[in-house]
């Protein structure tokens, strides 16, 4: 259930940026390395969002593939969380190229202000 911890972090981040405005949509990019279950994240979000500007908002997830880069030969590949050794040169010095994201990309908020005519 680490989804609950992660949604709390997401909601807190949104609260800081929403400046009191009601939030309709939260767009989040989640890397595969985070091992998030999307349904559980959505469920946790609905609970954590209660009594905040996020209440009733829709959580939109973009899943980012986990990719590694070999420091020795620069080879980049997509992994299934099993093998952290470079398949090209067998190097062990690898870095995560993508997949660690837990990024609040943007939100859509509702504004009361009238749109200027014309």
């Amino acid at each position: 259930m680490h989804e609950l911890s992660l949604t709390s972090a997401i909601v807190k981040t949104v609260e800081r940026h929403a400046a009191g405005r009601r939030v309709a949509v939260v767009n989040v990019r989640v890397g595969r390395m985070r091992q998030v279950v999307p349904e559980t994240l959505a469920f946790s979000f609905d609970i954590v969002a209660r009594d905040t500007v996020c209440e009733g908002a829709r959580l939109e997830l973009e899943i980012v593939e986990a990719r590694l880069r070999c420091r020795a030969c620069e080879h980049v590949w997509t992994i299934e969380l099993r093998e952290f050794r470079c398949p090209a040169c067998s190097g062990a010095e690898v870095e995560v190229a993508s997949g660690n994201e837990l990024e609040v990309e943007s939100i859509e908020v509702e504004e009361d202000a009238c749109i200027a005519p014309g």
Partner: protein, 226 residues
């Protein structure tokens, strides 16, 4: 009423990491080395601390004990004359399953930083959430006991990838288990090639000398004035 799109592009854990840096700065100022000590429930964190408490020449040990509820672990360590600060996560959202930087920060006034050199933060037993939240530690140590099975590195890669030392505990039980330690080490090297590891038994004391020497080494390393 109309909708506006607000671009944010911010890691949801940034707020936590900022507080973790503040904790780290406080620890550095006090000259205290901090270990984030993590494992699944029942892997033997407290027992491994009991083994080295009072036996770290020249290094004054303190413990920050994270539990959902109660002070059973803290009581065990206090009996060894280690200054222990209890941090219960229960008042949080139904009892948090991990420590985060802010919880640790709130406990800092109760930690006698001036009287210790090494602070071991015993995290809540859990292989998932604690790996996500930095608390301001210098190093991360995890305990994986042989009764948990060989496949754990593959199931919890974030935990195994972000630690600096893996203590494989309860090795005295190996003759009684189907656990294949070479399989475990193979999986460990798949997710974190070359990570330092030690075979230990808190029960028999096997490997405890190496664990104690490791703590002495990192306490000395981190204490070198900048």
């Amino acid at each position: 009423m109309h909708r506006t799109r607000v671009r944010i592009v911010e890691d949801a854990l940034d707020a936590n990491n900022t507080i973790a840096q503040a904790n780290r700065a406080d620890f550095d100022r006090a000259g205290v080395t901090v270990v984030n000590f993590m494992s699944a429930p029942g892997a033997g964190k407290t027992a491994l601390l009991e083994r080295v408490a009072g036996d770290l020449p020249g290094v004054r040990l303190g413990v920050l004990e994270g539990d959902v509820q109660g002070s059973l672990d803290a009581d065990r360590l206090a009996a060894r004359h280690v200054p222990v600060t209890q941090l219960n996560t229960d008042p949080g959202f139904g009892g948090e399953c991990h420590l985060d930087a802010n919880m640790v920060r709130s406990a800092l006034p109760d930690v006698p930083l001036a009287e210790i050199d090494l602070l071991v933060v015993e995290n809540v037993g859990n292989l998932v959430c604690p790996a996500e939240f930095r608390i301001g530690e210098d190093v991360r140590v995890m305990v994986s006991s042989v009764t948990e099975g060989e496949d754990k590195p593959l199931k919890y890669p974030l935990m195994f990838r972000t630690c600096d030392l893996v203590l494989v505990n309860k090795v005295d039980l190996l003759p009684h288990l189907d656990y294949d330690i070479s399989k475990f080490l193979h999986h460990l090297d798949s997710v974190h090639p070359g990570v330092e590891r030690m075979m230990v038994s808190a029960r028999t004391g096997e490997g405890v000398d190496a664990w104690r020497d490791w703590l002495l080494r990192i306490a000395a390393r981190e204490r070198v004035p900048a």
